[in-house]
Amino acid sequence: GESVGLHLPTLSVQEGDNSIINCAYSNSASDYFIWYKQESGKGPQFIIDIRSNMDKRQGQRVTVLLNKTVKHLSLQIAATQPGDSAVYFCAERGLNTDKLIFGTGTRLQVFP
């Protein structure tokens, strides 16, 4: 299938290391944020979400951090595996709207 994210920022990590993917969002009034993972030729898949009344949320091997002061969101992946290789997108939802706006994405490459 078509490769997604040929010209996107790329983060290369070694298998077993931790990965941190960063995202700057634009709307200070956004109240909900999501991280998606997109493998080549597939639709995006939900990873984890966080509401604006939280600073941190943990899932299985993933943690999302939200810094509203500087409008910054990060996704931390612990013990990165080859199957984590994909393009990762953050998305924000503004207050009083259901429209999700996506960031440009970051390609994560995991080397053995």
Binding site: E2, V4, G5, L6, H7, L8, Y32, I34, Y36, G41, K42, G43, P44, Q45, F46, D49, F89, A91, R93, T97, D98, K99, L100, I101, F102, G103, T104, G105
Partner: protein, 117 residues
């Protein structure tokens, strides 16, 4: 079906022709979104439907693009007089809207890849 279904998965057309892309959302999901993803780019919002409310069409790039959602379920995205710059993957997603919390996780289909020659 269990997930969001889109058809066709691939469409090659000639410049100037009209195309229709179909999305069948997850049963019971009241919210439906269309996004466009060009090669090497992020997801560009096109249009959003929620129940019987008027759709949010703020992302449609030109009047050649239109979408409708019949019976609150299946949606069709129509592109008239296609141009080469319309070539992209068109992604549909659906979601539940929870009162007081808004829509949550979007469930995406695999996309329809459109190539305009």
């Amino acid at each position: 079906g269990a997930g969001v279904s889109q058809s066709p998965s691939n469409k090659v057309t000639e410049k100037g022709k009209d195309v229709e892309l179909r999305c069948d959302p997850i049963s019971g999901h009241t919210a439906l979104y269309w996004y466009r993803q060009s090669l090497g780019q992020g997801l560009e919002f096109l249009i959003y439907f929620q129940g019987n409310s008027a759709p949010d069409k703020s992302g449609l790039p030109s009047d050649r693009f239109s979408a409708e959602r019949t019976g609150g379920s299946v949606s069709t995205l129509t592109i008239q007089r296609t141009q080469q710059e319309d070539s992209a993957v068109y992604l549909c997603a659906s979601s539940l809207k929870i009162s007081g919390l808004g829509t949550g996780e979007l469930f995406f289909g695999e996309g329809s890849r459109l190539t305009v020659l």
